[in-house]
Symmetry: C2
Subunit: 729 residues, 2 copies
């Protein structure tokens, strides 16, 4: 009767791959930017899957303490590659590590990205050589952490309260935590790994404050790992995810460091206590860009990971029969509503991938321009303009891509029903680990507002007739035309160009609204800062609409760069790009309606198209997911397995990680006393004590006593009366 | 220089409470439905906070194993109340438990709600007495679990594959798991607690299948807790949240139970193997309703819990100065964008609270109607109608309220920045624990579709002239007028009635669209089921818009029931109701625009109003949050403390749960070997082995040999030539 067999899901998955309508390998190369990068990733995945240090099937059951040790072992393995392979390769490897083990990525990133990054950007050449010789590159004799945030101060770096007093008598700085709120907090690596910390503190010389500077402060003796005098470090303990990082707090109590341990590339303090400040504001944008670029890449990769699992499971899982006569239940991926749940997210993940490649390119271009910049360079202004734009673009992308990916993870989990809730299928950790991306390196809401601020000023420039040269804001150049654009027909709405024009129009409207509100605030006499605060909601909305359009444009450009051929790649990417653009149009439909770009009927058409593209994408969903090229080892999720053998492997994984015990851990101690307990019986107490009879007796005694007293009083009254009468006589 | 003091946050919080614009106690009574219920909740919170079994400050660091033991201790404590307090009180207590310890709520709920519920609804009177005497009420000698879902079968109950063959020779059923996919999976309580299971299995008598029925199957000997013959149980292990429940898998291998252990209220199997099926479909809606009603209450309560933390933190936390001359940094709750992040969610949580009270009322009304129903009752049809409607309403509410609350938790976390990511501030567990609400007792998407299906048929009825009598769908009664309604002015948009009419209009349009698409599918020759599948997206949208309007209407009705008085309660609730209605209008603006109910300019007005209401709500946010009446013990989050002493208590909690260790757990083992390792030096190998010189020598040797060979060949050629020449001579 039952048609279920153990190999059913594998057969199903094989069928899904039988006739891919495009060349899967070529599609995969497209997603990865180049064959070279794809091959590298495959090499790294193979190495990780065979390396016992990267064994991961037990990871979901490890305690925080165990995960931290495992992470330390992995750090040692990765340090090997730092010193033995080209920087570009190592960065690619780290991108993969972020997908495989986000806690590891962070713990190592704290040393290489933040601590070493602080030295790179803040040290003089001699200082840099000094720390190089100390062993900072290979973590020899040292491991760094990054001491910026404090318990009561996160984003406001200028408001940090840790102090660095210069003591001219000994040529030292005294690093000090003045109050509880100034305790360094969330410092990754501080609790168990770091020997040194790049501490952000208020420079104070002869009683005068010079703002926040960076100081390298030794924390532990690298030979014994004992805390140095004046250092108090504790473990911050349990957090939502990324248990592999040992975040800690640090309190400094009059800790002395040599003067030369202040990073002095920008501001110098001389032996005599003279403070030399730099003539120009520091260009610190660069460091921020790197983090955001990496996070957008991580958003794209993680979305693809989540969807690889949920889409494969949707193909393998069967539930209910659409047709009562069918032999098998229906694959859930065949239900239109399930397609609606997942397919748009697949198109979005592909869009994020291309956006990430473009941001990577922008970042490299900008970094090179910055590095080659000489003092007095005539291209300085142009470079700063470019930097500002890249900065704003990356801010918006970091915010909206990480939000969307967090949502993708949770929707993927929900699309897998109960099995999505099991830790062994990866979503629980993926969500918890990823969530912090929305908060660190700039809270997403604040970053979106920064992007909105840039858009307002670009719009103002455009109004003033200054041409926008960057691809991102070029739509502002012909404002009258853009603002009044309308979609001419349903057909036009189903073209890359038609959709693109729609996004230009709604973005221009949203930015115009923000800009006008801002100007209105200024006219009311508000300061620039107040005006920006007052119109923060419209600024936020402008950034949101602009960024959605920006992402669509990256996808479109990428598609149009793909060579035309009969391998089906370009054709299917074009379909996905239109799908993404129309789905986002539907999601943000109010902007399209109110700008007048689409009519209600055209909106209906767009919605119907989205449903149609959901169904089309379903037909090649498995080959498309395969082209994301994420190994089973990196997925670490039985229901997302390549071969479709989901139930057997899920069952095996659950059993392996939860061996059946010989003895119940707490039956004798807790359960037996519970299920064998005697229930107290309230009535027994009453009878045993005989309290009710007694209460009755007390009542009777009282009544008798009262009656006697009353009678006595009556008698007395009678007597008195008699006596009085006698007296009268 | 620094203005930070330890008591700053407490002073700030005290100021926030100095002049509440409404009577906070009366507001609190409003939220709780009655003073009686509020007082009860306060009593339960006090009891829990003093009970050592409910000590919770260490909970975030417990392992899964420890949490399970803790939960077992708490179960014993609660079982005391089951047998000693009225059912209504115990239900209120459980509602609080769900907020305090969701895993506990579930583990106990599995026995009382599901296992006992299955017996209540499926047992004959004699069977019910039998299990009562066995001890089911007080968990004496037994604890139940609920064996419905299987590894390959979740929602499709009719498709479950576990079999129950009747063996007439012994008068027994044989319970059997025929394949891996039929393994009972996710069974809460199975792994460590349960002695009995209510197993859903296919009844098979004399080779004929009669569908899924329920059988009580003993799993363990309650005296030894050893598994009974034929039972294989394992632990399902780690999941996203609710570690306190011991979910397990169960495989039955020819397990025999007495015939009388099949629950026979509806279908009976006689001694002779005759199967008597009930004449009518079973009314099983009732059981579903109870779960959903509880989950909507939990959604409202949990949203209030999350917001209590994030709003208090927003008041206590200061970051950046809006005015450079200000002595203190600005409270983050004073930034307009932060108000936008949290205040609408506060209004929504209040709306959910009233919706939950109404659903509770509906549920009780419906249950009573069902219980008092006699066979042949003339009110049967009306009751079934009512039941269907309550069913649909509760389905939609369960889906959209639990989704919105999950989002509220995460937005609250993000609004708390880094400290929101620390487990000690409660969001991490709150999110993980709550997430499953979107999946169990009906996946949210599927439930929303059920609601959409009901709406389509109600709309059809309305078209056919059948008056809708329930408050939920009454807006369909005057369709022409409702569909063409327009908002006459901005002023009208700022009234409860104006907003209500707007929701009626957009809901009617959304349901109309779904209904028309459905009819169009039927006309194309699709079956009813196919047509419903085809238009599932519009069905989903219809349910979403309808439900938002429904919630607004509950809020409005509740406000209008509040007595007019000068205590400020009604006035502020009215403000919140308008706020919620307009914010949701803004969120779903596309529907309002495309229905023509609002113009783009009116939409701008609504958005500006929402921003204004955000600012207004901020002025009384702390007293409002206080009126939610959630104790510090239940919050278990230092940054959400009532007294505002957030940093000191957060610091204390982190230290208490992460004591500083005397010795580093893995320095000697892992860190020392790492930072003191010798780097392999590639050049050394080359020199040590002298490989390059050797390669050069090999080359020279080869060249010499080749040269010699060549010379020899030349010589030979020369010789040959000479010989030939000689021969010619």
């Amino acid at each position: 009767m039952s048609s279920w067999t153990d190999s059913l899901t594998m057969d199903t998955m094989a069928k899904e791959r039988a006739n891919p309508p495009f060349d899967v390998r070529k599609m995969s190369i497209e997603h990865h930017g180049s064959e070279n990068d794809l091959v590298k990733k495959e090499k790294f995945m193979l190495e990780a899957s065979r390396d016992p240090v990267f064994y991961s099937a037990d990871i979901y059951d490890l305690t925080k303490e165990q995960i931290r040790e495992r992470t330390m072992q992995r750090i040692q393995r990765l340090a090997h590659y730092v010193t033995s392979e080209p920087v570009d390769d190592f960065q690619k490897r780290m991108e993969l590590m972020s997908l495989l083990d986000p806690g590891l990525w962070t713990r190592l990133g704290v040393h290489y990205g933040l601590f070493l990054g602080a030295i790179r950007s803040g040290a003089t050449p001699n200082q840099f050589s000094y720390w190089m010789e100390k062993g900072v590159i290979a973590c020899q004799g040292m491991f760094g952490c990054f001491g910026m945030t404090e318990l009561a101060h996160g984003s406001n770096v200028a408001g940090l309260e840790t102090t660095a007093h210069f003591d001219g008598t000994t040529d030292e700085f005294v690093i000090h935590t003045p109050n509880l709120g100034a305790t360094k907090w969330w410092i990754g690596g501080a609790a168990q790994t770091a020997t040194h910390c790049s501490v952000f503190a208020q420079l104070i010389v002869n009683g005068k404050r010079y703002g926040t500077k960076t100081f390298i402060v030794p924390l532990r003796d690298p030979k014994s790992f004992q805390l140095l005098p004046g250092i108090n470090i504790g473990d911050i303990g349990k957090k939502m995810g990324r248990d592999g990082i040992d975040n800690g707090y640090i309190q400094f109590t009059n800790v002395r460091i040599p003067r030369a341990y202040m990073l002095m590339k920008h501001t110098q303090v001389t032996r005599d206590g003279e403070v030399r400040e730099p003539p120009l504001q520091q260009l610190t944008y660069g460091a921020l860009l790197q983090g955001r670029t990496a996070m957008v890449a991580d958003a794209a990769n993680t979305a693809k990971k989540a969807l690889t699992i949920s889409v494969r499971y949707a193909a393998a899982r069967r539930q209910f029969k659409s047709d009562a006569k069918a032999e098998l239940e229906t694959q859930i991926i065949d239900y239109p509503i399930h397609q609606r749940r997942l397919m748009p997210l697949v198109a979005q993940a592909v869009a994020f991938g291309y956006t990430s490649l473009e941001l990577q390119r922008l970042y490299e271009e900008t970094s090179q321009a910055l590095e080659s910049l000489e003092p007095g360079d005539p291209s300085l202004d142009a470079t700063i303009e470019k930097l500002k734009e890249t900065h704003s673009t990356s801010a918006g992308l970091k915010a909206f891509c990480t939000w969307a990916t967090l949502e993708t993870i949770d929707r993927s989990r929900q699309a897998c029903g109960g099995h999505g809730y099991s830790s062994y299928n990866a979503f629980a950790n993926m969500y918890s680990d990823f969530a912090v991306h929305c908060t660190w390196e700039g809270d997403n809401t604040i970053l979106a507002l920064q992007s909105g601020r840039f858009l307002i000023s670009a719009f103002q420039d455009a109004l003033d007739g200054k041409k926008q040269v960057s691809q991102g804001t070029m739509y502002m150049n012909d404002l009258d035309k853009v603002l009044s654009a309308k979609c001419e027909s349903n057909e036009a709405l189903d073209t890359l160009d038609g959709i693109d024009r729609g996004w230009a129009t709604v973005a221009a409207h949203a930015v115009k609204k923000a800009s006008e509100d801002y100007q209105a605030c200024l006219k009311k006499g508000r300061s620039r800062e107040q005006a920006f605060e007052d119109c923060s909601q419209v600024r936020f909305v402008a950034a949101s609409v602009h960024t959605a359009g920006y992402i669509f444009r990256q996808f479109r450009s990428a598609v149009e760069r793909v060579e035309k051929s009969d391998d089906g790649v370009r054709e299917h990417l074009e379909l996905l790009a239109k799908f993404y653009g129309l789905w986002q149009l539907e999601e943000k439909a109010a902007f399209f309606l109110r700008s007048g770009f689409v009519t209600p009927e055209q909106l209906d058409f767009a919605s119907a198209k989205v449903t149609e593209y959901c169904a089309k994408t379903r037909t090649f969903a498995i080959p498309l997911i395969d082209s994301f090229a994420i190994s089973d080892h990196v997925l670490n999720s039985p229901i997302g397995r390549y071969d479709g053998d989901i139930y057997r492997e899920y069952f095996r994984m659950v059993r392996r990680n939860n061996p059946q015990l010989k003895e119940h851990p707490y039956f004798e101690r807790l359960i037996r006393p519970f299920i064998e307990r005697q229930l107290p019986d309230q009535e027994d107490f009453d009878e045993a004590i005989g309290i009710d009879d007694e209460i009755e007796e007390i009542k009777q005694d009282r009544e008798e006593a009262e009656a006697e007293a009353k009678a006595a009083a009556e008698d007395a009254k009678e007597d008195a009366k008699e006596a009085a009468d006698e007296g009268k006589k």
